[in-house]
């Protein structure tokens, strides 16, 4: 019974992540790549993403505070964040990166600052939600992850 509840929670949690726009279809692609030889693939990719993206967000913040602003460098940093975010299906983050890039293009510093704050919030929220999701998955075990991931 406990196990069924856990599985239901996982399915519900994942559906919410998609319905609320935190994740897109690309996340399903990651789950399809997980197998017996890489049983923790999705969690490992997510961990790598959050490690790299935290560093990028710090670099972006430092670059924004420099004077004169180097919008080319800012754009390059956000492009990296957009690329990796897109690869894991982090939809809201990817969209906010596009907003940031548009602000860079317009050399709109205030727009960039606002966008950065939003990116940081989306980043923190997604990290927290995925940590909860992976925590539940660990409780059901790798054997049944494949079933959960197809829902």
């Amino acid at each position: 019974m406990e196990y069924s509840n856990l599985r239901r929670q996982i399915i519900f949690m994942k559906k919410n992540l998609f319905d609320q726009g935190y994740l897109d279809e690309q996340f399903n692609q990651l789950e399809e790549l997980q197998d017996e030889s890489s049983p923790n693939f999705v969690e490992e990719v997510a961990a790598l993403f959050f490690k790299d993206s935290s560093r990028l967000l710090t670099n972006i913040e430092q670059a924004i505070d420099k004077y004169p602003q180097d919008f080319y460098r800012l754009d390059s940093l956000v492009q990296q964040l957009k690329g990796s975010g897109s690869s894991i299906g982090a939809l809201r983050m990817k969209n906010e990166c596009s907003v940031f890039k548009a602000n860079c293009n317009d050399r709109n510093l205030e727009g960039c600052r606002r966008s950065l704050q939003k990116m940081k919030r989306e980043h923190a929220t997604l990290k927290q939600k995925l940590e909860s999701y992976f925590q539940l998955l660990r409780q059901v075990g790798p054997r049944d992850y494949a079933v959960s991931s197809r829902k």
């Binding site: 399809e32 790549l33 790598l48 993403f49 790299d52 390059s76 990296q80 690329g83 690869s87 894991i88």
Partner: protein
């Protein structure tokens, strides 16, 4: 999805500077039993070709440090490597034209398993035709 392979393994060169993307694309290629060499920028890719390495398919990002994907593609094609399938992979919509102008066979904004399977099948057919 069943990951099918037919005949001998293809050899791929993956050119990507972002770690997360390298990890995902490598795993995708592994699913199709493709022998994959990974480099982090266009210059490293060109150096492999200059060193006499051959590949059936190159998958490359656009914007990378030191040398971009399109720059590398131009140099690889100029070396006479006209048979190798070259695929540009980039979320940036502006990249498509750059890739094509440089000599890429095709460009995709994201590499999904279904798309990769189709590309690998096409690469395999091309390889079988040229060795016949």
């Amino acid at each position: 999805m069943a990951f099918q392979t037919q005949g001998s393994n293809l050899r791929a060169l993956l050119v990507e500077d972002i770690k997360v993307n390298r990890m995902i694309l490598s795993q995708m290629l592994r699913k199709f039993q493709v022998e994959t060499t990974v480099v982090q920028n266009g210059k490293e890719a060109v150096e492999l070709f200059l060193g006499g390495e051959t590949f059936d398919i190159v998958l490359t990002d656009n914007l990378m440090p030191i040398m971009t994907g399109p720059e590398a593609i131009s140099k690889i094609r100029a070396m006479g490597a006209t048979d190798v399938m070259i695929v540009g992979v980039s979320v940036d919509a502006n990249s498509m034209e750059e890739f094509k102008d440089a000599g890429a066979d095709l460009c995709v904004p994201k590499l999904k398993l279904e798309i990769l399977e189709h590309i690998l099948q096409e690469t395999r057919s091309k390889k079988n035709k040229s060795s016949a």
